[in-house]
Symmetry: C2
Subunit: 169 residues, 2 copies
């Protein structure tokens, strides 16, 4: 397999993975492309490489900036904007965790608190409340765990989990 083939397969694979996780396939491909690009790229280069329209390239680049996964760069003497990705995979993971937590976990927690307020008594109400309580407890656990992971450095992560693995039995 040549470098070129490898890069293409990587972009495809990353795109497929993204779409399984509720992330736009093209956005994931743009991210993949920038991850393996040593140099910052222009929107036009992204457009050409992936065979997408300018508007599409632009929208997905902006979405990636919103996610904190890539940044813009002005090159002196150049008119165009250059885009480059955070290359440290551990930081990438932390950023994704932090964003999804903010976008999804927090709203769920607020819905769960509301649902804990339902009125009425009886077996049915109790069992509903039990499920909501369990979910709230679980999401609390997830919240704390993800916070810890998302604010830790790589060495801490690896060490702690290795310890965890060792302790288990």
């Amino acid at each position: 397999m040549t470098l070129q083939e490898g890069k293409e397969q990587f972009v495809q694979t990353w795109g497929a993975l993204g779409s399984k996780w509720g992330i736009n396939r093209t956005m994931a491909q743009v991210h993949a492309l920038l991850l393996i690009s040593p140099e910052a790229l222009t929107a036009s280069e992204v457009k050409e490489t992936l065979g997408i329209s300018m508007g599409n390239a632009n929208m997905n680049l902006r979405a990636l900036i919103d996610w904190g996964l890539i940044r813009k760069e002005h090159k002196l003497g150049h008119r165009k904007e250059y885009y480059f990705a955070e290359k440290d995979i551990w930081k990438v993971a932390q950023q994704i965790i932090a964003e999804r937590k903010k976008r999804e976990l927090t709203p769920i927690q607020s819905v769960l608190s509301e649902l804990q307020q339902i009125e009425g008594e009886g077996e049915e109400v109790d069992s509903f409340k039990k499920m909501i309580d369990d979910l709230a407890e679980f999401s609390n656990f997830a919240d704390k765990t993800l916070d810890t992971v998302a604010t830790s450095d790589r060495n801490w992560m690896v060490n702690s989990f290795m310890k965890l693995l060792g302790n288990k039995k």
Copy 2:
């Protein structure tokens, strides 16, 4: 908020969450419905409650069985099949983790090993290989961590992560 309203909002919310995570909205709603249903339900009841077709109900129920999140039950003297969900949220989480790991992480790891085989030399090849290596290392870490989480009981999970949180600083 009444029980009925609460149940409806829960089903809606769970459906919306699922669709953000690459899970069919209706499948997530069916799951939500069974999670908060003290009794096992027939496909017809699911169809009626969610206002979907029989075919759709059937397909999503089967998908949930494939995911190991619900099971069928034959009731003596009844012709119909009854469906019920695993209610222990920690087990549900473990099941989802185990399934997604099997369906997504494993295939990615195999692609990454292939990509480590690319030929050629030079700066560009080295930086590509570096990224692939980093991803492989990360996915290994994720694999082990998720394995640990997915095979542990709830108390072990809570305790360990609480320790982890305590140790951090």
